[in-house]
Amino acid sequence: MISGNTSALTIAESLGKASALSVGLGAAAVRLSGLITIEQLREAVQMELEELGLDAQVIEENLRLAEEVYGGLENVTIQPEKVPPKELVHEMAYDHVLLGTPSILAPGNAEARQTGSWRVERPEINYEHCTRCGLCFVGCPDGAIALDEQGYPVIDYDHCKGCLICLEQCPRHSIVSKKEVRSW
């Protein structure tokens, strides 16, 4: 499906980067839908990224990506599968209240949910200035900071929600925050 000005590699490379997901995939989706013009796409990308407070240059790069993806895809007709797989519909009975209550009885399963995906701001530790005082470790409300064998704090980015309490706690300002949304 990919042809024209943009190589498959360009698109695949861009889509592989987290920050390009919404712009690249969005551009592909609107192209495939056949309902949205390139001008409308540009306007949507512009509005979405401006709200995030990104630099003009980053927005420009994203707009270019959108245009490349949009221009690189041909109009396609999506053929539905001839026989859609039959999904079984469940007839739900009453389950015992032990099951049918939104409660959790098994302790210690919070780790299974990777709350790091909620993060907008990403705290990063500057280890050159870190004195290993441990205040960030103590202050982290989610227990997402551990101490390594030398006593240096290590952030678990799978679970850090980016609240930046560690940054506020650090007496030497050795923790900085970076936006999770980046240039592609």
Partner: protein
Amino acid sequence: MVRKMLTGNAAAAWGARLAQVEYVPAFPITPQTEIIESLAGWFADGALTGKFVTMDSEHSMVTAAGAAATTGVRTFTATSSQGLIYAMEALYTVSGWRVPFVLVNVSRGLSSPITLGPDHNDVLAARDAGFIQIHVETCQEVLDSVLMAFRIAEDSRVSLPVLVNLDGFFLSFTREPVEIPNAKLVQEFLPAFRPHHPVFKGSQSVAQGVAVLDGAAYSYFRYQMHRAVENALEVHEEVAEDFYRLFGRRYGALEEYRMEDAETVLVMAGSFSTKGKAAVNRWRDQGRKVGLVRLRLIRPQPAAELARLLTGRKAVGVIDQNISPGLGGILYQEVAGALASTSDRPPVMRSFVGGLGGKDISPAEFDRVLEVLDEAKSGEGHVPCELLFTDAEYKQVRTALSVAGKPLEGRAS
């Protein structure tokens, strides 16, 4: 067994006392306050042990009731009108926890304009909150229903809060002879609360009322709640049977009054059903075949039984003591819904709205209902609800408006 002249409020408090409730979060509001005052007195003098706590609002109060129930403690609370709707968010929340407790609502019309007399817009606003709803007619039924409510709430097939509704003033402040059941028999009927799922206690890791954040899990729990409310139909029947065996009074999900050969049927709820029964007696004396069905269980709706009672009749008039602006009577819609898929529906069905804000429904207004039902034609299609209101009442309102400086003459433009 002792027989006393009790108000509906005192009867509700006696129900909670006999159930040996252990936690009562409270907030005053007319016409409910007498219930929590009575309970406060009994917690103070030792007749009840446990905690009586005054809260900062009904929202906190209902949340506290639900939270207490998550610890496995038998919990009771009461409110009315604005208090119930102020607690609306909490009502939906705590029922989702699937915790049993009993809430008594003393019905009172909603603002605006503010008033104190009863109607059912407050309690029916909560009809989708996942609470079982029992609407009572007499002070005796208040006490009995509070006891039955705990049994239903605590059954593992239900495990939900139960709301017992009584009408303000007409029951709350009216003394009627009430039998206070023997405490030992009550213990047999209602043993100590044993939760059916793990509750909060020391050294037990449990999270209750957790977020789900996905539609499938949300649908599962909400639908389970629906099934649990439906289960209350069967549980109510069993509990009513036990209650009858021990105390000699029988309660159905619906009450039939002189229905045996009735061609015309009134459907009503709450204490005004007594007025409806008086009208039925009067008409029966005149040789008319009229009966009455009182809706006692509002949630779950006893739809099958309702359909059984009403199919084959010539005319049904539902008198709603509530109004849904732009729709009409709420219970009329529910009754019509229960009949929708039956083959032998009554050819005439009409909706009446009466008794709003505690306004009386006079014999003349009941006669009007019968007259309308007699004259209505089969298959007439949608007819808007009719307000029951007398000329004298309209004159009274116009007099009040005139005192308020609102004569129409010379002002209307």
